[in-house]
Amino acid sequence: MKKILFILIIGLGAVYAQPAGEKHHAQMPLDCKSCHVCERPTYEKPCLKIMPEFTRRRGITVYHRAEDAPAVMKIDVLSNLYEPTIFTHKLHAEMADMAGGCVSCHHFNPPGRIAPCRECHDPNATGTDLSKPGLKGAYHRQCLSCHREWSHSNECSVCHAVKGDPSAATAAAVKSAKQEIKHPKITEPAKLVYQTGADEGAIVTFYHDDHAQRYGLACVSCHQNESCSRCHDTMKETAAVEKEPHDNCMACHAEEIDNRCELCHGAREKPRFDHELTGFSLARFHSSVDCKECHGQQGRRRVAKPDASCIACHKGWNATNFDHRITGLALDENHIENDCSDCHANQNFNAPPTCTDCHDDLSYPKDLPGRKVD
């Protein structure tokens, strides 16, 4: 009986390929006291603060793309009791990309490199170290917090095959084969139409693609607390509905939520936002410009009304470095060496140019200082 007790106690060892030549974090300009409580921390006695928030927020200084992550890891410290556990690391990294990214597992990471779990989480911990879980707890918490939500089971055998179990070899082979399986690309909806319970303007139209692409929000800006079980739940057919839908919009639209319901709520679907309506057409020259190029960035919101005059952004252009042809008008030889302001009075490029300063009888656009091009 007691033997089985040990079977439950797992200790796992995993090797994570490290980029060579990284500095040890002790050589970095960091205050030791942010994480350690003692003067001389060692690997044996790191005397870490209880959950040093610093490292979670700012500690990770190396970022990998999920595609570059090691494909599989063989976890075999308790190989006397178990067949090794094959952890499909890359697959999990891809899934993590949809939530917190690498940090969701590699939290509290010392700067400079990604540390293997057991550097902090002691494989031989006895449950009395109050500052952090041992390796057993660390691993199980990471795995089971998601796995039990979608399978509603804690079966040890999902990961742990008892040594000598003939089915274990096959299970490991299947998992190894999975290393090239990718998480299917999540198809992003273009538009979502919500039927809300609001008395007036029950319909809310949300242009998901505009928010994700045009306004440049990262998935996690809204999908912060997603769990795998939102999509993967063997006992549910549909994903859970957000409880408080305003929460997601609050960061950028707090003012509208308080005062301008009609911006989102209407009796019918709302059309997509059109910049033309602001009086400044994006057509032709500005459609590919990132919003913040003009609007700057105020917190997460980018709607500060910019100075719409051309020279507000386009400073330093003159007759020699500006190719007038891109405006659709190739200047003729009489005009090509003029100063911009000779025609565009007061550097006002939004208004039609004046011709009368030089020509009594000519005017724009009846007469052109060149010829039209495309």
Partner: protein, 298 residues
């Protein structure tokens, strides 16, 4: 149902109290209640528990109680009913629905809380219960006369008797692995838990740790450490993601519970004149049968 049984037991306790007055091992010594500054405790973080029930298994093994094979503990159908610790299982795990749709259910392990001012210790008229220096509230089988006072007094409904045995029942409850900890080990349930739901350490450090966790993860926990103040404080402390009352934790004030049972006890001795002949008879039977059992064991 439960309530009426407890009412019955209360009466039984009163009878038992009368008996105790005559029993040869009447508690002459005051109940031991050591409150060491360094007493140990356990912090149970219910937000981590996955309901695997390995703690139930380990507890039985550590206490030589019969147990089904470990695989049988994967059976989650036991969660259909709320269970209480009993003589065959000194700790049990219950399950509660998570208020957040789509998130995993909440599991809570329960056992004796090892109160700092244990009602069971005060209630026990023969001094069979004692609070030890390391925080454990333990029970001395040799002194117990089976009056079931402790059972009535305990605010957490922990001590239970072997109902099948009418005359020489044994009371059983979590003993904080008194033997194991004496050997320098940690409690069996703490050791086996795959999620390290429990931390074993000095109580005052655990209180600090619990508040630190709440501070660091305000969204994860409600701002309360159950057991910090309840009934004067308990060695076992709990963290949870939703109100403790919804997880079947009794709503208790900060005053130690024993007061109530003490006055009951004193009232009995002050004003209650037992029908001596009946109690003498019953007490005699109890005493003899207990002795008999002890000599069998020897």
């Amino acid at each position: 149902m439960k309530q009426s049984r407890r009412d019955f037991l209360k009466t039984a306790g009163i009878l038992g109290a009368g008996l105790a007055g005559l029993a040869p091992k009447k508690a002459l010594a005051a109940p031991k209640n050591v409150l060491s500054d360094d007493r140990m405790g356990v912090l149970v973080d219910t937000t981590l528990c996955i309901g695997c029930r390995r703690c139930e298994y380990a507890c039985k093994v550590a206490h030589d109680l019969p147990s089904d094979p470990i695989e049988s503990y994967n059976d989650r159908s036991v969660f259909a009913q709320k269970r209480r610790p009993d003589p065959s299982a000194l700790t049990v795990v219950n399950e509660f629905e998570n208020p957040v749709a789509g998130r995993a259910s909440i599991n809570v392990k329960t056992q004796c809380r090892h109160c700092d001012y244990p009602a069971c210790v005060s209630a026990c008229i023969v001094g069979a219960f004692s609070k030890q220096e390391n925080g454990a509230v333990i029970w001395d089988e040799g002194k117990c006369i089976g009056c079931r006072y402790c059972m009535v007094a305990c605010p957490f409904q922990v001590p239970t008797f072997e109902y099948e045995k009418a005359l020489q029942p044994e009371i059983r409850k979590c003993d904080f692995c008194f033997k194991r900890t004496g050997e320098g080990k940690i409690p069996a349930c703490v050791e086996i838990c795959p999620m390290e739901v429990m931390k074993y350490g000095k109580r005052h450090e655990l209180v600090e740790l619990a508040h630190q966790r709440i501070k660091d993860n305000p969204g994860r926990y409600i701002d309360r450490v159950y057991g910090e103040y309840e009934v004067g404080g308990t060695s076992w402390l709990y963290l949870a993601s939703k109100e403790f009352e919804k997880l079947d934790f009794p709503e208790l004030g900060p005053d130690p519970a024993p007061g109530a049972s003490e006055s009951l006890q004193h009232a009995i001795f002050a004003y209650f004149v037992p029908p001596i002949s009946l109690f003498a008879l019953l007490g005699g039977i109890m005493w003899i049968s207990k002795r008999g059992k002890e000599s069998e064991e020897e």
